[in-house]
């Protein structure tokens, strides 16, 4: 199968959906000629024109609000938020308006909108351009949250998101834009709420989101060399969450680590770990462990930044401990 980058995959998904449905449009800063700073949207304004690939002034709350109203009245906006860190600026329009409109109107109004943004540290971009803030939106009922882990998922989840009648937030890892993966030429969609078992295993389950799937896979390689068989699962969407697949794996392996690039405390790992603890407790040989980004603002200095996020070696080390039954902390 041909391989394309995650950036190309997103671009293809958007182009295909824009050809399919005239009401889909893109809105954000420097999305047109510039094709965004990450060049993900290159070529789209040339094909679809400035009416459907809309450059905005730097007013995130404003264009997010505009997109909500546009979505309520018959279009399908794909909002481009240049950095995930700017989500703090649009929380009101996203969480008080978009997320609640369908419910507050008793089902009469809908907001079929996609918010495309990114996440991920270690790009030397410092505290305001390196956050992974998906936990915040996952906490708000009414929003769906997708976290593609490769070009394949990026395309399939984006297409599903655009056709969904709800507000969907997609977090792309900005360090993965140039990563290639096999992506079919034919059209495909990836349903929400269906986890992907990336690799089967029997001794321990590693659940990873976004780029942490790769981290888990590399950890599984390390462990395999030591004779430990790790199962790696990518939930693909954290809202809805495919609990059944996660629980089945936990029941099988009896040991689980959840790895996510958001800050560890009050984040995604706690939720996933809790659900597994609650519903597979009597199958567990050890507590479900969690690895998130360190609970510190992301530092600029490379010497510090690199130690704030989970690594394959770190995950393998914890897994090794779990499998060996060394959980001193839990004593």
């Amino acid at each position: 199968m041909r391989e394309i980058t995650l950036s190309q995959a997103v671009n293809e998904a958007l182009a295909e959906e824009m050809r399919r449905d005239d009401t889909v449009f893109i809105i954000g800063e420097d999305v047109a000629e510039a094709g965004t700073p990450f060049k993900v949207l290159s070529g789209l304004v040339e094909e679809f024109g400035a009416q459907r690939v809309v450059d905005t002034p730097i007013c995130e709350p404003g264009f997010m609000g505009l997109a909500v109203g546009a979505a309520m009245t018959g279009t399908r906006p794909v909002v481009d938020l240049m950095f995930g860190d700017f989500i703090f600026l649009i929380m009101d329009q996203l969480c008080n308006q978009a997320a609640k409109t369908h419910y507050m109107s008793g089902g009469k109004l809908s907001v079929p909108l996609v918010l495309r943004t990114n996440m991920g540290a270690t790009r030397r971009s410092a505290a305001q351009h390196s956050q992974s803030l998906h936990a915040l939106v996952a906490h708000i009922p009414g929003l769906k949250v997708a976290m593609p882990s490769s070009a394949y998922e990026a395309k399939g989840l984006m297409k599903t998101a655009i056709r969904d009648n709800n507000p969907v937030v997609i977090f792309e890892d900005k360090l993965m834009y140039q990563d290639k993966a096999p992506v079919p030429e034919e059209e495909y969609l990836i349903p929400f709420g269906v986890a992907n078992i990336k690799r089967e295993g029997t001794d321990i389950t590693l659940i990873g989101t976004s780029s942490m799937v790769q981290v888990c896979e590399k950890a599984a390689d390390i462990l395999a060399a030591e004779g430990i068989s790790a199962e790696v699962i990518d939930p693909r969407t954290i809202v809805p969450l495919d609990e059944a697949t996660l629980l089945a794996s936990a029941r099988k392996t009896s040991r689980v680590i959840v790895v996510d690039e958001g800050h560890q405390s009050y984040g995604v790992t706690g939720e996933i770990a809790s659900r597994i603890n609650e519903k597979a407790f009597y199958h567990l040989d050890a507590p479900v462990l969690r690895m998130g980004a360190m609970d510190v603002p992301i530092p600029f200095s490379p010497a510090l930044e690199d130690i704030t996020v989970p690594t394959p070696e770190g995950v393998a080390a914890k897994a090794r401990m779990l499998v060996a039954g060394e959980m001193i902390d839990a004593a």
Binding site: A67, Q97, L109
Partner: protein, 331 residues
Amino acid sequence: MANAKTNSEDYLRMYRQMVRIRTFEDNANQLYLSAKMPGLTHMYSGEEAVAVGICEALETRDKITSTHRGHGHCVAKGAEFKQMFCELLGKEEGYCRGKGGSMHIADQSNGNLGANAIVGGSMGIATGAAFTSKMLGRDDVAVCFFGDGATAQGLLYEVMNMAALWHLPVIYACENNGYSEYTKTEEIAAGSITDRARAFGIEAHQVDGQDVLAVNALTTDLVARARKGEGPFFIELMTYRYHGHHVGDINREYYRTKAEEKDWKENRDPIIRFRAHLITEGLATEDEIEAMNAEIAADAKAAVDYALDAKYPDQSEVDMHVYSGITHALA
């Protein structure tokens, strides 16, 4: 309908709509005072000429966004008493199945995209509705209602900038009732409100919000021009709210005098003024007007009685309409 009202039928309809709003509010206030209504609500009484003068210049397909003080806009855009009272009482037959209540009442069928409990929260939505209109080549316009207090929200300037750059068919209607909660407008608004719009290149008007004919004539003109792509526009409507900020705001002499209230009620009431005009111009007799008032009062009473007896939504509705396309979100 979209020409400034000149014949007696249209005039009487405007009068009727103003009285319907006043009557609705008097009943809602009574429901609160007699502890039959859950929560608080904000009365539109005194400002009727604003909602009616504007909405009578619109077609059903045109959109409005409303505010926390939204009953007037809702009635003026065509809503029925029965579903409105049901909504205020949290009943299943309400416009939003009781899920929205007073602060979120919406009436999709008449183009009312909803009240909003976030001051300024709908400015993006209205602008987005105008964006849809332009993008899809429709000719409907959107009116964004908001108060003088809401002009302090930065979102207004963000969306006015985009609306001006892109010539969107949106009319920003600032209901300046002299108060932002318990504070006088001059204490919270520096400079000139209309000049702020003009600085963005937006044509701005100030009009007597107690004169329904003046409001209607101006709006009719602006709506026609907006349909031709000459928008956006800004209108500051000078008006007054008769009640407290909300129904519970009874002792309010610390922020405004009884004398001031009396003056507005007795000398500038939009209904009294327009009634006098109708009589003087021979468009209606005292008897006809009294009959209309009585009929409206009876309608309101019947709707209130109906709503009081109507049933609450079934508890199973609690997780319905969280997501479009998912019947029970928590199933």
